[in-house]
Assembly symmetry: D2
Homo-oligomer: 402 residues x 4
């Protein structure tokens, strides 16, 4: 039913060797403008400020999530048996799941109340090249794809493939982010995970013989969070981004004239953004906007934008109680900085795996030799230890040194 | 004499493990705004359109060239003996050698008659943060650094380190581009090259026992040129860039009104660019400019800019004679395209190593066991074969399919 | 004081890039016959029966332990300050620490009551080429080297380098065994560990900023134990080895005539082995002995030897209680096999890190920013969880299928 | 028709990720004693004396050749269409092609006039476990397998897969030997070669778009020959092996009594070796034999054997003319050494690719876009240069220093 490409298309990729494309609809989505736009959005926001080679884009990551999904539906026993419609739907969803991201992702959400997941839905369902391509398959195809991204597809296996606790998204980003940061922490044995993955009772499960690869994957998550994603320098850059976006939002109320040249941000500040505004709003636009802001009349915007461009980041301190934060705010204010923008409080906490109570979410399940399935932490001593151990937390204040 | 940093500074790097910094002046240069700007310029121009992970910046490459230089002056017998002044000067020059690059490098030179080497000189010698840092060492230090980049430093060894035929620049980019494209072609044995490098008669030479690593390096160059740098898709992207810059230049004469919002390009189009204009002119600015151009009144600029953003590239054909090109121009014109912007002729040719006649340039020399030195192609059968073989050439026309 | 080699000697190594030798005494030890013998002993006993590329020798591993030690005493602040005598002594001890191993290591200890550590001591202190080389340094040098291997050197730092809980021995074998098995489990960031290692209060400690690399190293141990060292196929091979050695020992009492051609084993069976017998007793000798035994008159020895050569290994079952084992013995006996040699009970248990009560042994210590040191599990949530979690155990019986 | 295994069997392999087995006959061959014996034969003879980690066996290599063959007949368009009989036959032949190797391969041929290819034939066709397994398929199956190894199978494609100029054997050993020596020279892009391989006119050919990977493969061969296979230390070890085997052969005539304990060698020395003798004659037997010889009454055998065990190798000198060799013999004789065993002349020469005149052998062919095929050197400038350049040669004498 689905049209194939003339010949197998391949794209060289350091993580997967090649990305393989055999369906025309996948190929067309890759070539659509909204997908090409992802080349202009970094995968890891401000992480390149600490790992200078972490300059890879959401474009590459999206191809990777697609490729792992493609392998899952072709190689995993229990998924191989899905219908072609389900397979293509989930591959498309995997490819498109990050389409709605704005520049620097979460920080950008300071400027607009719309979450990136909602933008992804809109790009798929509204008037875009992507929508046109998906509609070409069938009238309800865009909605099918969107439902996987919303975790509401009636075939729950498809939802689990794209975002469970052992999903194509996480597996690609751990491997990819490890490669591009040049750290080894995110590595785990993808081949073995794919080889020991099965389906049981409509759940994606892991054979007990693959339990070590799963433990290793859990640890990869743990290390990547603390060494990369929550690295204080990454968070410092994002704290300044947050402050700058907040400043723009405040200026839009109090002194809109100073923002008049910042056409890329205005529709978002006014809450009037269209799909075309979203399309334009990539990291090039944001960075060029910062260049303009770094010459702005507003001293706060000017300073914060300059800090982002020149990597003149905030320092940080661990916060143990409310008083610590209050004291820092006072010191910073004493030096003439407005603490609203110059003291950013940020909490990071993470448990690399957490089993959900039944019904609440997706767990990792282990398929035992007797055919029964058990939640991972009940089988693995090491995961059990992690689940029962302390939750690792880190609260920090970011602010300029006086 | 040179101030050291408080402790050894290191930055994780996938090619070199770590970049090591022990001199304050190096650390200050890295933190200068003009150097941080290199994060916003891709190392490989349009190559990311074919190798989607080739998204690394000149920032990372510059650190790599510095690191190889640092190792050369610390590890290579004959270079270890350089004075501290010479060592620091050449490390700074290695770090800063690409400072003058504009967006998409060579294509950008269609817009401005100033070569990137000249901009590099200006950033070092004119009123910039970098200049201020270098002047802090001594009044003539900026000029010393610039002279290496110009190959005119009185100690010719320093010039050879940064750009000979086996220099820190080439060695870093081959390894780095191989890593980030995910190809294996650019790999060679850097460790062995450093271990067998020596100095003889004020020339950097290679011990005969390292000749295989040099042959391998020569082949790495050959493969990277044809598989990556001269890949037709890279050249297609750059052909469109060239055409778009040319179109802007022509519009600046014929219809300047349509360019009024393109403040980032105007100073260059008018030939009035300052150091601050150059600072602002990074790839974010260029790409945001293309976004504006993709909604321009001028149909040609609009179409070309859209092609760049959406990766709707030109097709290509090998050109064997003048008539081939003339025929294509005619066909393209017949379809309503202006051949000035829609037929781009591009010739690539390369010999991975070419010995210079004495006095003309730097050769690779082999140090024999008897202490004599001989030019590489006289010692290596395989390099000799390459030098005497045909020059590989490729002439192509790039144009839209009708 | 110590003689240097004419030039730096290097040996290519996939784990460390190169092994670097600059002291003549190290070079001479490497070239001594007792050290060359280690080429004929596998690093991983029977593991090659499950990971077919795990064919590397104790020779390569010993060079690796030396190389990590060399880097520690040259790069780690607090160790760099050791005297040349201490540095060379610990490097020699690192190189020689495995000299006493017999074929298939622990299994061989079924044949002789002498532990391999004791043989190592004897090779260093008795009449050997190694002893002669070490005595050439000074009369008491052999004893100094041996004391490190015994953990009794007065400078406790030296003992910790070779065998603490984060020592050169373990670090090399995890990385090396991961490489040669082709698994990724044993990887951890050696560079970062070396960079964040310090000395405090005569203890080797880790800066808090390196805690993630230590956690990763602990996990690498955990995974390598269960995926490689305790793999049931490895243990099955070793179970048969154990049974065969036991059988020979019993035959030496009951029917020595059948062993008359097995000259390589006889001195050990009689407890009369000399250093020369030990020298001869490498894995080539053992395997050739098995070839002879596979044609022996004794049916049990014949069958067991054939099984080792042809990889016709025992099956296995997890044992939960004494009754399980008794039942298997009965079944095996019923099939005509003597359970003494045909049912091998083996228990494996492991905790990847276990802090010792003070005074009992070496812990991993973390150096905090305030200069205090704390035992690892008190600082790392994840290691704390592991220390407090269940001890992973595995009890199996190995026996032929009926 | 061919029986499948119960489930897909896999074996972890660092070069190929996994070795995949789905046919019972393949699995049975792997488990046969004659195939398991290959674990006791090094892939690279004496190379471990220079690259200390080159300790991998012909067992691992044979699995690798099988795996590449398996991929070729499953993935390459033109080979995918082979009959199941042809596919299984060529996979078995690939697996078994090295079965006849004795210890240290070519050197061993000094002792016996039978080439290893002939032994391979005999193991397949005579009374062995392997023969029994193959006969179980059909009476003529052993002969079919043997005919591929002889290059005489009627379907010439099968012969080319196992040994053409771009065959599974060479591709595995270059990658594997590079990995286990720890050099990068042997690397090339196997994935791309498999992707661009086709069949045309009953020839295995390469699409023009894959020509760079072929050039890279040719260079990998060139480098591996000179850096690894023809390394003077490898050749020195093999020269002594050759001399020792020659000495034994001479002693068998002149003084057989001194060889009486060397039961492993006697049948070969007498030319009376059976398949069982061949089975026993692995490197463990040879090395244990050297241990015995190192305590022999014959001074020459004793010294040569000791040199092999203790790595006390011969020095070497490049020989330019007959006179050089004569002079060395004289010097060596003057020191009391018998030049017959103490001066070994060895010539190495190699051209990494050489096109055969039509009919003589297998060339590498390039499939052009117009569907025609051309021999590689007519299409590739760089290979053309190599083919026309000088033949690289190296003549050396190996002898003990006086």
């Amino acid at each position: 039913m689905f049209k194939k490409t003339d010949e197998l298309k391949v794209m060289r990729d350091p993580i997967h060797g090649y990305i393989h494309v055999e369906y025309q609809v996948i190929w067309d989505c890759i070539n659509a403008r909204e997908f090409q736009r992802l080349r202009r959005i970094h995968q890891l926001g401000g992480t390149f400020e600490v790992y200078h080679t972490a300059e890879h884009s959401r474009f590459a990551h999206s191809l990777g999530v697609y490729e792992i999904t493609r392998r899952m539906v072709n190689e995993v026993s229990g998924l191989k048996e899905l219908s072609e419609m389900d397979k293509v739907t989930v591959m498309v969803a995997a490819l498109l799941h990050d389409l709605g991201h704005g520049p620097f992702s979460h920080a950008f959400e300071a400027i607009t109340p719309v979450a990136h997941e909602e933008y992804t839905r809109r790009v798929i369902l509204e008037n875009t090249q992507i929508h046109q391509i998906l509609s070409g398959v069938s009238e309800d195809f865009p909605e099918k794809v969107a439902s996987i991204i919303n975790y509401t597809h009636p075939n729950d296996l498809l939802n689990q493939i794209v975002s469970g606790q052992l999903d194509a998204d996480r597996m690609d980003y751990l491997l990819r982010d490890a490669y591009f940061t040049g750290t080894s922490y995110g590595n785990f044995d993808l081949e073995r995970i794919l080889r020991t993955m099965r389906v049981k009772d409509q759940k994606i499960v892991m054979k007990e013989s693959g339990i070590h690869s799963v433990e290793d994957y859990i640890m990869a998550r743990y290390h990547m969070y603390w060494q990369v994603y929550y690295h204080p320098v990454t968070r410092s850059y994002e704290a300044i981004l947050h402050a700058l976006f907040q400043r723009m939002k405040d200026l839009a109320q109090t002194n809109p004239a100073v923002l008049k040249d910042l056409k890329m941000f205005l529709p978002f500040l006014k809450g009037e953004d269209t799909m075309q505004d979203h399309f334009r709003m990539d990291e090039s636009a944001a960075l060029y906007g910062f260049t303009l802001l770094s010459e702005s009349e507003d001293a706060i915007a000017r300073d914060l934008a300059r800090r982002l461009l020149d990597r003149d980041l905030f320092e940080y301190k661990t916060i143990k109680c409310e008083e610590d934060l209050a004291r820092i705010k006072k010191e910073v204010a004493a030096l003439g900085y407005d603490p609203t923008y110059y003291v950013i409080h940020d909490e990071a906490s993470q448990r690399p795996y957490k089993p959900y109570k039944s019904g609440e979410g997706h767990n990792i399940y282990i398929l035992r030799e007797d055919g029964s399935i058990k939640e991972l932490s009940l089988v693995s001593d090491i995961v059990n230890a992690i689940v029962k151990g302390n939750l690792k937390e880190d609260k920090k204040a970011f602010y300029p040194i006086g």
